[in-house]
Amino acid sequence: MSLDYVKFTPGFDRFMPKEYRDMVEHGPFGKKTTVSQVGSFKEILEEHPMCAGCAMTLFIRLAMISFPNPEDTITVGTAGCGRLAISQAAIPFVYGNYGDQNGVASGLTRGLRLRFGDKPKDVVVMAGDGGMADIGFAQTLHSWFRKEKFTTIMLDNEVYGNTGGQESGMTNRNQVLKMAPLGKKFEKMDMLGMAKVAGCAYVATVVPNNPRRVENVIKKAVLIAREIGPTYIQAYTSCNIEYAIPIDKVMEDAKAVELDRYKFSEYVSEEAREYLADQYGYKEYMPKPAPALAKS
């Protein structure tokens, strides 16, 4: 959990695989890498078995590129497709039992604070809509009500993808799925509303067809969680298998869904705005200079 763990043990560097050497020498650790530099540095995410063309994969990749301090970040996940990739990155990954992720992250965050004091260690939960809004619903909400300081990211593919297409609370009404042949009978849950009610300091929706926006949202959420309070990002990350989206049409689908029901939205609490402006120089949240007095 520091730059020390991304060094070679003296004498062993020549025995390490090339991917590992590239990671140590040309990875993002200790640097400020951005999405616009991709293709020129070694990303922390490695090969994994998620489906070809899956938008969730793209989102996870962009999120990993966007972590402000990857060398001081721990991810927490659970059963579901996303963990297949999240676990294959050069940063620590904690696997919670299905639905336990926000409980595990609460303990982890508190432990890290006891151990490291004010030196920020970022905890980021990434889990599916089923894991978060159904099975892990109580733990998710309670971590927010308790104001636990870590970031929660829902990988919302609007279905249980990993187990073959059951409806989740985040599936849309009337949606027919392999394991919901009569269509879902009730509305998509308003997790964004609940996050605000429960006191999250930052709540945003995002779609991966805008990589710079994903970067911006992830950075803000992680920074705010360091000191202000819980943060929540809900990302539309389609499942091309269960929704039968041809893989070369995944970005078209993301655009259509963005326009239809996943418009970009962002809530930043007053305290979080001030903090981003003061601590990290976010111009958009700096107080506007008073307009010059009109000459009489």
Binding site: T57, R61, I247, D248, M251
Partner: protein
């Protein structure tokens, strides 16, 4: 055999935009060489695919055709595209990468 993405350096280096590198779902797969094509007088450098990591989803083709409007990427059979970049042969530099090309289908 299976399809992988292949980027035409001349087309990409004439107009390069780096969009495909940001939209490929797979990490470390579409890389960028700032000097590619410069020996032919082309301006910008080019994206290229580390074909052993490519899962053949063709999203980069859609992005290059429809968002970048450059039509520089085609899907091709791995055993018919000739020498390509492979993960083992990529050299990372300060701000760019280069690859020694090799046949992706061993002997």
């Amino acid at each position: 055999m299976y399809l992988v993405a292949s980027i035409n350096t001349e087309v990409c280096a004439a107009t390069s935009c780096k969009l495909c590198t940001q939209y490929c779902p797979e990490a470390n797969t579409i890389l960028y060489n700032n000097d590619a094509g410069k020996d032919q007088g082309l301006k910008y450098g080019s994206a290229y695919v580390s074909v052993d990591r490519c899962k053949g989803c063709a999203q980069c083709v859609w992005v290059c055709d429809n968002m970048a409007k450059h039509n520089a990427i085609k899907m091709e059979m791995i055993d018919q595209i000739g020498d390509q970049a492979l993960t083992q042969n990529i050299i990372y530099g300060e701000k760019s990468t280069t690859a020694v090309l090799a046949n992706p289908v061993p002997g």
